[in-house]
Amino acid sequence: MMDYKVPTMAEMAARNETPEILFWVGCAGAFDDRYKKVTIAFAKILNHAGIRFAVLGTEESCTGDPARRAGNEFAFQMLAMSNIQVLDMYSVKKIVTACPHCFNTLKNEYPGLGGNYEVIHHSEFLQQLINERKIRPADGQPFQGKKITFHDSCYLGRANGIYNAPREVLHALDADLVEMKRSRAKGLCCGAGGAQMFKEPEKGTKDINIERIEEALSTGAETIAVGCPFCMIMMTDGLKNKNKEDSVRIYDLAELIAQAGNF
């Protein structure tokens, strides 16, 4: 059994050390019960790969994405500026995060406020680790030949053009990757972006996550892979609505890799 370590930036600074990367956990990763499992899986992977990383711990705040997209630029800039102060205090250079919303905000929107970092989404980072053979997820082979479909999140895909990295990660599992009718640049939103996560949907004929889960189920995949906490929550709700929680599973890319590698 491995000892898992999750050092904080403050600890590292006290020891006069600097990590290779900062793992930005995000609010969902820190507080949502389901997504905490993803955070833990990713922390385990980082440990197994021998990456010198750190987290901000209680010094992290929301990046401000939901506030900004709901129109509250004041709240956004307050959060962004104080996050930038913290990041710069620790001279952070490289950030990895499992949340496409955090990723997009840190990467594309913080520079406008003076925060410049190299920001990587965990799907890209996992792909690198696999390519460099720092982790060997397929050793356990629990997914060999199993049908998996990947749900593109808007903030990873259309917003930032990352379509291949998550698929490459899934390929490493030796799984049978099936695509939904709407995928990649044509992918359908889970319904949570733009701060929809934090309010009831407007009146319509259907909820967006139901439309999307129906499409995912129609592929016949027994595993739905996601790379975003919001997508995870929305798709899980959809699955419950369809009473399919027992036959179909939803996992984040990091969980799949950790499971495959028996981490």
Binding site: C27, N72, Q85, E109, L188
Partner: protein
């Protein structure tokens, strides 16, 4: 006789030019109501984008068959204009087929080429008309999309019918012309038969010379007056994209789609509030009169040019998750409403000696409903789909800023989220001190 025709022609050319330029002026005036936005960086990249998307029709080929048909109409439109140049010069000088002596043997080849294009346009427009009039394409159905009811759906068909009529005029005009050449009418220089219209000559068999001349003249006038009317009509129609697609793709935003525009007018205030610095009084940016956008004047000129460039194709709406699931939001409607508002303001300015007199209306509320902008998931599907690189999302987000910051009117649950962010630095109600608790469940 020809001198009267020449006078009439020059007169109608003048009137058409005057009417069209008046429209261009009022349109550019309303676009310039928008705020500054600097979109002139990276000219090379911009030119390449315009060549690919507008000139090369790249996105139209996302749907290969439609792309091909549209390309036929587009190429026909661009190239047949060379022939229009001849027609205009003929009209002014009272000559007939002015380019014939200059081009010699090449002339019938050129006209034959134009005739092929004319036939292609005719076929494509007929297919489009059938496609638009039957229920096969959901995004073009007014029963499914309320923004298409009345004028917009008629507009879509009128231009197709106009193109069909114009192309028939060219082809039959050439057929009557060839028949007159066979009769050695002195006004019609011998050019030899034309590629397509030769097959229409049987229509004119048995006509006398006088009748043929009259038909040829009528077709000529219908064609050229039709083009003048078309040019004016386009400025009122979704077909304005034939001109604006070019500048609109050139001036597109060249940043990742996920990046939301910054509000520098807020930054200095936030810096003071956070105690980051205390700039001298003179450097503090003046508080803007409004946060976000309430009306078109608060949007940028590019948002407004977007609105005039919209072809109402509905590709955005067909991809919009909110619209797909029956919500009121339709990104196409956002663009159409913005344009309608601009048109109303333009009319208002015309009626008030060039200045806008407040009509008590606003883009949000009177044209676009709050319910629409609230439903947007900011997924960028609309931005991805648009064949002329329009960004409906940018407008939606600016309207939201107005609602959230200027009016402080957002759903209660969003207010709660704002509060949580204020007190807990997270959108959910959790204590910041618990942020690191997840690590405790890792085996140590």
């Amino acid at each position: 006789m020809t001198i009267i025709q020449q006078i009439l022609f020059i007169l109608s050319l003048g009137i058409a030019a005057w009417l069209v330029s008046r429209r261009i002026l009022i349109i550019s005036k309303t676009i310039r109501l928008g705020k500054d936005e600097n979109l002139t960086d990276q000219p090379g990249q911009r030119l390449a984008t315009m060549m690919r998307i507008a000139f090369g029709q790249k996105k139209m080929f996302d749907k290969p068959w439609v792309g091909l048909l549209h390309f036929m109409v587009y190429a026909g439109f661009l190239l047949i204009n060379i022939e229009v140049l001849e027609i205009i010069l003929d009209g002014i000088t009272g000559r007939h087929r002015l380019f014939e002596p200059l081009l010699g043997d090449f002339y019938p080849v050129l006209i034959g080429f134009f005739e092929i294009l004319a036939l292609a346009v005719l076929v494509a427009c007929s297919i489009f008309l059938v496609r638009r009039s039957t229920g096969i394409v959901s995004r073009l159905q007014p029963t499914r999309h309320r923004e298409l009811r009345n004028w917009p759906q008629l507009d879509g068909k009128l231009i197709l019918i106009a193109e069909i009529v114009l192309m028939m005029a060219i082809l039959t005009m050439n057929a009557a012309d060839s028949t007159l050449q066979d009769l050695d009418n002195p006004h019609y220089p011998q050019t030899g038969t034309f590629l397509i219209s030769q097959f229409l000559k049987p229509v004119f068999a048995g006509w006398n010379e006088h009748g043929l001349v009259i038909y040829e003249r009528i077709a000529w006038w219908v064609h050229i007056l039709g083009i003048f009317a078309f040019a004016l009509y386009v400025t009122y129609s979704k077909h304005l994209h034939i001109a604006l697609a070019f500048p609109n793709t050139y001036f597109t935003r060249l940043v990742p789609k996920g990046e939301m525009k910054n509000m520098p007018e807020i930054t200095s205030e936030v810096r003071i509030m956070l105690g980051i610095d205390n700039p001298p009084h003179s450097e503090v940016q003046a508080v803007p009169e409004r946060f976000g956008a309430r009306d078109v004047q608060d949007l940028s000129w590019k948002n407004l040019m977007d609105a005039y460039s919209c072809t109402e194709c509905g590709r955005c709406t067909a991809a919009c998750p909110a619209n797909i699931t029956g919500k009121k939001l339709s990104p196409r409607k956002i663009m159409m409403d913005t344009r309608d508002r601009l048109e109303d303001i333009g009319q208002n300015m015309l009626a008030n000696k060039g200045t806008f007199s407040d009509d008590g209306k606003a883009l949000i509320g009177d044209y676009i409903l709050e319910e629409e902008i609230l439903a947007c998931t900011t997924c960028n599907a609309c931005v991805q789909e648009c064949p002329v690189l329009i960004n409906p999302l940018d407008i939606i987000l600016q309207l939201r800023r107005y609602k959230a910051m200027d009016e402080a009117k957002v759903p209660a649950s969003w207010n709660m989220m704002f509060q949580n962010i204020d007190t807990n630095q997270a959108p959910w109600k959790f204590a910041p001190g618990d942020r690191f608790n997840w690590a405790e469940s890792l085996p140590k």
